[in-house]
């Protein structure tokens, strides 16, 4: 029953949990991991395997939290004994796609350790093979290992996995290893040596989102697995419910608190029109389409006429299987890339023009029924059945509602009012990168940030993405944090810094104004849409900064929270505002345009001129924003650095 109906029948009810505002709990550990998602759990496991005392702090429920908590359909970019493709080549397709604007450092670590991480996942209970022989004889199955592959059936580098088994297995392994899991605690700040910005990280603060109790964590090493920024340009639960690609509580807490402590960030100026967070989108992968999870689905028009698929050279492919095979002369296929070298086959790129000429009739449908049985079942049963958040609300519910992929065609909203991929997305409705690379923390080859003792993994890293990347970098960062922690001691904290954090955390409880967090988030989005949207110039960015400052100084302090849950949501929006500031400062620092970064400066229209083809790195130095340039290939040489650091 929803609350509204309940109180009509029973009257108002009290908050169901004990209230402990201001009470303080202190927890010590060798390694404290911030965030209990995929990266966080892997970091905790790998640190605990070294015999260290590990604590995971998670805002939700570690059992299922994070973008990969509810499931995962594919595990990408994995060299293994059954393929000739190397880690270097797998980094190459992402570098090619992004014109060099990708974090090859973390991508390379991920590619080097992906296969052993996947096998470790299996040992913990994750299902990574077709153990029930559902797909015996299918062209994407390796009969000997029973591995299933996606996107490139020839080179077999992208695995199809039963990812709904993964998070539960990680959780159980954490428990088995004695990792202490502190759920429902939002991390609010980092504690540093002497309370100084830019100094060594000694711990973190947080508060319990049900009781309001304050937490102080002291550690020898801290790992940030708190994902990335979200809801900077788009937010309206009223219009589109919570269709964000990442879960509700992923908003950039980790980015904001790292920024306040003086950590270095890059690529924060990147943004693109959003596909999934568009106000008009459906839930990700819940309608007929031919992307990611749904590759290589057949699309037909309203009259049943099939939309042809073509390879990178425009050659029409007559067999379904060819949609997952490299073109003649092409070595292998990236999971998604517009660049010629590793481009996958796709439905005809001039489809819209041909619809307008009358060759095809809207609406389009995903014709699973017209596909070979193994392809139909691997899309609808396996991929949609295992991908996070499509298993229950799409796969199970559509099936219960009577949708039968063997005889029904799921409608596509391409070219209609709600197409998540093209046609109806407003360029102001942007994201820092929900699928694909986004801005984040800069690290060295130990995945340690510029703040000593502070490591980062998964989507907290700049240019991060994907389940396999979160898992591998989490595992690596946990190892490196453990190595570091073994040499360090717990250090006394700066009490003044703790008190300052506490005051900041509880401030919204004192407010009596009638504004709540959602309105503040919407107002922040409006500022970003207007002044830091598709087109930027110095004047607009200046307006963005003063508008954000205005909101922060005059309105944010009036936003009230009358229970611990709303206190969490309120502080989240404060963090969103901090991320917005970072985005605007990064945008001011790049005085050139860039296609890959979705970055158009009207006053600096030259696209990626050589002197700007580099990373802009920012940090907060006690309120002053410092920037520096870093070469795009700061990671080179990949193998040399990796060999030197990985153990």
């Amino acid at each position: 029953m929803n609350w509204t109906r309940y109180i009509k029948e029973h009257g108002l009810i009290e908050w169901p949990y004990p209230i402990r505002y201001g009470e303080e709990r202190e927890i010590d550990a060798d390694v404290v991991v911030l965030g209990g998602g995929i990266a966080g759990c892997w970091a905790a496991i790998s640190a605990a395997r070294k015999g260290l005392k590990v604590v995971v702090v998670e805002k939700g429920a570690t059992l299922k939290s994070g973008s990969g908590g509810s499931g995962c359909d594919h595990w990408l970019n994995t060299p293994h004994p059954g393929t000739d493709i190397t880690a270097e080549e797998l980094v190459d397709w992402e570098l090619e796609m992004t014109g060099g604007y990708t974090n090859a450092l973390s991508r390379y670590i991920a590619a080097r350790e992906s296969y052993e991480t996947l096998l470790e996942m299996e040992k913990m209970g994750g299902v990574i093979r077709d153990v029930k022989d559902d797909f015996k004889g299918a062209p994407f199955r390796d009969e000997k290992t029973k591995f299933l592959f996606a996107y490139d059936y020839k080179n077999k580098i992208h695995f199809r996995v039963r990812g709904s088994t993964f998070k539960v297995s990680l959780f159980k392994e954490c428990k088995r290893l004695g990792v202490s899991i502190v759920d429902r605690v939002m991390v609010t700040g980092l504690l540093t040596e002497g309370g100084r910005t830019g100094a060594r990280v000694l711990g973190a603060t947080g508060f319990h989102c049900r009781t309001g109790e304050f937490y102080v964590f002291r550690a020898k090493a801290v790992v940030n697995g708190l994902s990335r920024h979200q809801r900077n340009w788009c937010f309206s639960t009223e219009i589109r419910a919570n269709a964000n690609f990442r879960p509700t509580q992923i908003v950039g807490d980790g980015h904001a608190l790292s920024w306040r402590a003086g950590a270095e960030f890059t690529m924060m100026e990147k943004s693109m029109p959003t596909s999934f967070a568009s106000p008009h989108a459906f839930q990700p992968y819940s309608a007929g389409n031919a992307i990611n999870t749904w590759v290589p689905c057949t699309l037909v028009d309203a009259r049943g006429k099939e939309i042809p698929w073509v390879d990178r050279d425009g050659r029409v492919l007559n067999q379904v299987e060819q949609r997952c095979m490299p073109a003649p002369g092409q070595k292998f296929l990236g999971e998604r890339t517009p660049s010629y070298k590793h481009k996958r086959p796709e439905p005809i790129p001039d489809l819209w023009e041909r619809i307008r000429k009358g060759e095809y009739t809207l609406p389009l449908y995903a014709d699973l029924a017209g596909m070979p049985e193994h392809e139909r079942k691997v899309i609808w049963g396996h991929m949609v059945g295992e991908e996070g958040k499509t298993r229950v609300p799409v796969y199970i519910y559509y099936t219960e509602a009577g949708f039968d992929p063997a005889r029904d065609m799921l409608q596509s909203y391409m070219f209609l009012g709600s197409d998540p991929m093209r046609g109806s997305v407003r360029s102001q409705d942007r994201t820092g990168g929900e699928i694909g690379d986004a801005g984040g923390l800069v690290t060295d080859w130990n995945l340690m940030t510029n703040l000593e003792g502070y490591f980062a993994a998964g989507d907290a890293l700049f240019a991060a993405n994907y389940h396999y990347h979160a898992a591998t970098t989490g595992r690596y960062a946990g190892r490196k944090a453990a190595n570091y922690a073994e040499k360090m001691k717990i250090t006394p904290l700066n009490r003044e810094q703790v008190e300052k954090e506490k005051a900041w955390v509880y401030k919204p409880l004192e407010n009596r104004e009638e504004i709540e967090w959602k309105e503040l988030n919407a107002a922040a989005c409006r500022i970003m849409q207007n002044y830091c949207g598709e087109y930027k110039n110095e004047e607009l960015l200046h307006l963005a900064l003063i508008s954000l400052k205005d909101l922060q100084e005059n309105d944010a302090p009036r936003v009230c929270a009358d229970n611990p849950h709303k206190l969490m949501r309120t502080l989240e929006v404060h963090n969103i505002l901090t991320c917005d500031e970072m985005i605007v400062h990064a945008s001011m620092a790049r005085k050139a345009s860039s296609d890959v970064l979705g970055f158009n400066r009207l006053d600096y229209p030259a696209v990626d001129p050589p002197e700007w083809k580099m990373w802009i790195v920012l940090r907060n130095d006690d309120g002053q924003v410092r920037t520096r340039k870093m070469p795009l290939d700061f990671w080179t040489p990949l193998a040399g650095h990796y060999e030197e650091h990985h153990s």
Partner: protein, 102 residues
């Protein structure tokens, strides 16, 4: 008419979407495992022990389905996609149109 006798209260609009999750009180035994697993913390325990949880923050639901996945009693929880996000499909042989009904 029954509605004439009901007391009418001054009451604001509901937030939207208002109904992402419903419980069958005949099947649910109020074990609150769904409350514990929801990462957005949309649900709270019912003040009355043994009764289905309450949906306190419906508009924060991410539709991950973890509550239903954690539920030990089949059929106790139903998730409802927002009304604006119910996808249609067409039966190939007959051309009949359908819609996801919840």
């Amino acid at each position: 008419m029954a509605m004439d006798k009901k007391k009418i209260y001054a009451f604001p609009n509901w937030c939207t979407p208002s109904n992402p999750v419903t419980f069958d009180p005949q099947i649910c035994n109020g074990c609150n495992q769904c409350v514990d697993v929801c990462q957005a913390d949309v649900l709270i325990p019912n003040p009355e022990k043994g009764k289905p949880p309450l949906v306190l923050f419906p508009e924060e639901c991410w539709y991950a389905g973890c509550c239903e996945g954690a539920c030990p009693r089949s059929g106790a929880i139903q998730i409802h996609l927002p009304l604006a996000q119910r996808v249609r499909w067409k039966r190939k042989a007959t051309g009949e149109h359908f819609r996801v009904s919840r």
